[in-house]
């Protein structure tokens, strides 16, 4: 039976809600039209594939199963030890491969020289061998390069095979849905004559699966991105940080959604003094500079946690609570923008003929809000989630650096950068922690920005299709 932390539950139910929303949108022509423009854009679809890959890792990292200390799934009812996510379970080898301190990516020896005692009693000033990285090599100087390239090639082959399987299935399904033969469909797709940019999607998938193949082959015996200060695997850390980043990027907007939706609709629909009060509320909140409000709220939250120490027994629940609190606090500073948008849109919608008709026909107010106003606001919510996502991921890093972000024990890119900020001053330079955080963040934020641009363009009333 999976063990779920509060953020897991929220995240998974948010995804469920998203799926429901997608199904609803697909069946409504007027809602579907702008999304079709997004789907036609090549850069948006490439970005979407990459974002979905990130999302998949985040989901795998949000489903926790209790395991016994020796790494097997525990069948008895009482779990021993902390529950482990599906992602940890898949990465078992990397997680356990601890070193003592820094080592460069793919290295077999440590980063710094140490005094080691030889079997014959002499003390030698040399680079010690790693405990995990390349331990299967008998003669590292000679075999290292050969072993690396052999593994890289086999990784490429595995990645390609996996890709061929997935793309083959996709072609099968798509061709049968269009009732055309497979060769004809592939030809169309390759020439870029299909409605959706299938060629770009397939090539993006190819790139992802090749990288995944090579990395997974290499990570069986090496630290692909080196190890950090206390010998932890940087690649594992970067992968675990994905969940934190994605969660903050999405949950923040979604967690305060009920508030923004209720207040926005009420202000727009009822106008008058309700509108005044709600406008006053969000103008006040909006006047406090964001960082300062976040800092103040996080300080208060920390002292709340200190007071109720007993309720946060394990490290995981503590870190999880803090992550959730950060999402809520970040949401507190950003819901005002969404609320203002929703209010303006409701003001517009309530004057439309179909709403007036419903009112004349005697439909109750609650029903009008629920059936006629709410569904027509949801595109605004999706746009604002898309637009806010990248800046929230970036904000997490900055806040963690200022110590008002996620718990120090939570893996996050901000914490990685924070831990690595003195490493650039070392001789020789330890660059891989920073570089990994950079690459992983960039590969998430850039597609998010591109996708958000496509969404904004599609919904912009000033440039119709």
């Amino acid at each position: 039976m999976p063990v779920l932390l509060p953020t897991d539950i929220l995240f998974l139910s948010m995804l469920l809600g998203l799926v429901v929303l997608v199904f609803y949108t697909v069946r409504q022509e007027h809602l579907r039209r702008p999304w079709r423009a997004v789907m036609r854009s090549r850069s948006a679809m490439i970005s979407l594939v990459i974002l979905l890959a990130y999302l998949l890792i985040a989901v795998l990292d949000s489903i926790r199963i209790p395991v016994s200390p020796n790494g097997h799934v525990n069948s008895s009812s009482a779990p021993i030890g902390e529950p482990v996510t599906l992602l940890d379970f898949g990465l078992g080898g990397i997680r356990d491969g601890q070193e003592r301190t820094y080592s460069a990516p793919l290295a077999v020896v440590a980063h710094a020289r140490e005094m080691t005692r030889q079997p014959d009693g002499r003390e030698v000033w040399s680079y010690p061998r790693l405990e995990f990285g390349g331990r299967h090599l008998a003669n590292p100087e000679h075999d290292h390069a050969g072993d690396l390239s052999r593994r890289a090639v086999s990784g490429l082959l595995i990645g390609f095979a996996g890709w061929a399987l997935v793309v083959g299935l996709m072609i099968l399904v798509l061709a049968s849905r269009r009732r055309s033969n497979m060769i004809g469909f592939v030809r169309l797709a390759w020439r870029g004559e299909t409605e959706l940019p299938w060629r770009a999607i397939a090539l993006t998938l190819l790139m992802i699966s090749l990288i995944a193949g090579v990395v997974s082959e290499l990570s069986h015996e090496y630290h692909v991105l080196g190890t950090g200060k206390v010998g932890e695997d940087v690649f594992y850390q970067s992968l675990k940080s994905i969940r934190t980043g994605v969660l903050i990027g999405t949950l923040t907007t979604v967690a305060t959604l009920p508030l923004a939706l209720t207040l926005g609709i009420l202000a727009g629909y009822y106008r008058g003094w309700v509108d005044d009060v709600i406008q006053y509320l969000y103008t006040t909140l909006n006047s406090v500079p964001g960082v300062l409000l976040i800092a103040a709220a996080m300080l208060v939250m920390q002292s709340h946690m200190a007071r109720h120490e007993a309720e946060f027994a394990s490290l995981a629940t503590r870190a999880d609570f803090r992550l959730l609190a950060l999402c809520l606090i970040l949401g507190m500073t950003s819901w005002t923008g969404l609320c203002r948008l929703l209010r303006a849109e409701t003001l517009k919608l309530r004057e439309l003929e179909y709403v007036q008709a419903a009112r004349v026909l005697g439909v109750s107010q609650g029903m009008i809000l629920l059936r006629h106003i709410l569904p027509n606001l949801f595109h605004l919510v999706l746009i604002s989630v898309a637009l806010d996502f990248s800046s929230l991921v970036l904000a997490e890093a900055v806040l963690s650096y200022v110590n008002i972000g996620v718990d120090p024990s939570t893996e996050s890119w901000g914490n990685m950068i924070n831990g690595a900020r003195l490493e650039m001053a070392r001789e020789p330079v330890v660059w891989w922690s920073l570089a990994s955080a950079f690459v992983f963040m960039f590969a998430l934020v850039l597609p998010a920005n591109l996708f958000a641009d496509a969404v904004r363009d599609a919904f912009d009333p000033r440039c119709p299709e």
Binding site: Y280, T283, T284, L285, S287, V288, P289, V291, L292, L293, A295, A296, A297, L299, V300, Q302, S303, H304, A306, R307, E309, S390, L394, A397, V398, Y401, V402, N403, I404, W413, G414, I417, R421, M424, A425, L434, F438, M441, F442, V445, L446, A448, N449, L450, D453
Partner: protein, 325 residues
């Protein structure tokens, strides 16, 4: 005009009261003075006497709103709300939890903040607007496409990487400027160069993209076509006609941040060890000095509201068509 300003000031009053109440609730109701004392004195092994002493020294031992023990006006004035929160309206910040005079600290620390923030703003504006105009000049070419793509890529990099990378390349490898630190007088110039350069580069992506959309909106208008028809060069059209008319949206963005320049930037100042208000706030957060954070939240909000007011006034100065009423 004066009428309008007075009306806007009166309108700002309820906002300020709201912010004051918000900070009060956050710092004294959600989080009681006893929690603060506990946090400062260490969580465990803290005696009730030590907490009482800490609270008494800092004046946190009074009731929140209503002092039943007092007489006459004292019932209202001998309370935390009156002493700690209402004083903020008169910029009486009181003492920090560590016993320092916050008002004096702010007066002293705003200068280094300004020394970094003003050049950053000016250089950033000039560079971003210049590059955006160049992109518009080359519109509908490959140069524009790749320029915009580069902007999106630059936007996707965290500020932290710009700072760490800039310090590494300019400060450590090339040794052109000191990596961090600050000095008074003219020596300060040496220390401001690196933060200003990095600040400008870090804002390049979003800045250039934003100004480009502003200019693109102007560039399709009739007066631009007229100017071109009269035979003016494209560069002349862009740099004098379009730039002037795009001033209003640019002003909106700039004037609103002007008052906030005083409070400096949290990240930049802490990375470059600049003794300004930004690093003051960061230090307060790390030391969990609630009094300083509370003062800075209020000060920041006041400055933001002043900025909004200034924006509206600057409209009338920049565009004679705008009438305030």
């Amino acid at each position: 005009m004066i009428d309008y300003v007075v009306r806007r000031l009166l309108y700002a009053l309820p906002l300020l009261i709201g912010i004051n109440l918000l900070t009060f609730v956050l710092f004294f109701v959600v989080n009681t003075p006893e929690d603060m004392a506990r946090m400062q004195l260490g969580q465990k092994h803290v005696t009730a006497e030590a907490i009482d002493k800490w609270r008494h020294e800092r004046g946190y031992d009074q009731p929140l709103f209503w002092n039943a023990k007092g007489e006459g006006a004292d019932r209202l004035t001998q309370t935390i709300f009156y002493q700690k929160s209402l004083g903020l309206f008169l910029f009486r910040f009181g003492r920090s939890d560590a016993g320092r005079d916050i008002g004096a600290d702010i007066g002293q620390r705003m200068w280094p903040s300004l020394a970094i923030a003003i050049p950053s703003l000016l250089v950033g504006l000039a560079v971003h607007i210049g590059l955006a105009l160049l992109l518009v000049f080359f519109r509908l070419t490959y140069l524009e496409f790749w320029g915009v793509a580069l902007c999106v890529a630059l936007m996707s990099i965290s500020t932290l990487f710009y700072i760490i990378g800039g310090q590494f390349v300019i400060g450590k490898l090339l040794q052109l400027t000191p990596i961090s630190g600050y000095d008074g007088g003219w020596n300060a110039v040496r220390f401001t160069i690196l933060p200003v350069v990095i600040g400008t580069v870090a804002g390049l992506g979003s800045g250039v993209r934003w100004y480009r959309t502003l200019f693109l909106e102007e560039v399709e208008k009739d007066y631009v076509r007229t100017a071109r028809a009269k035979g003016l060069s494209e560069a002349r059209v862009l740099f004098s006609h379009v730039l002037k008319n795009a001033m209003i949206p640019i002003l909106t963005g700039v004037v609103v941040v002007l008052p906030l320049l005083f409070t400096g930037s949290l990240i930049t100042e802490s990375f470059f060890a600049i003794p300004g208000l930004g690093s003051y706030t960061i230090d307060a957060i790390n030391q969990q000095d609630f009094a300083i954070v509370r003062s800075m939240v209020f000060l920041g909000s006041v400055l933001y509201i002043v900025g909004l007011l200034l924006t509206d006034i600057s409209y009338t100065l920049a565009d004679p068509r705008v009438k305030l009423n």
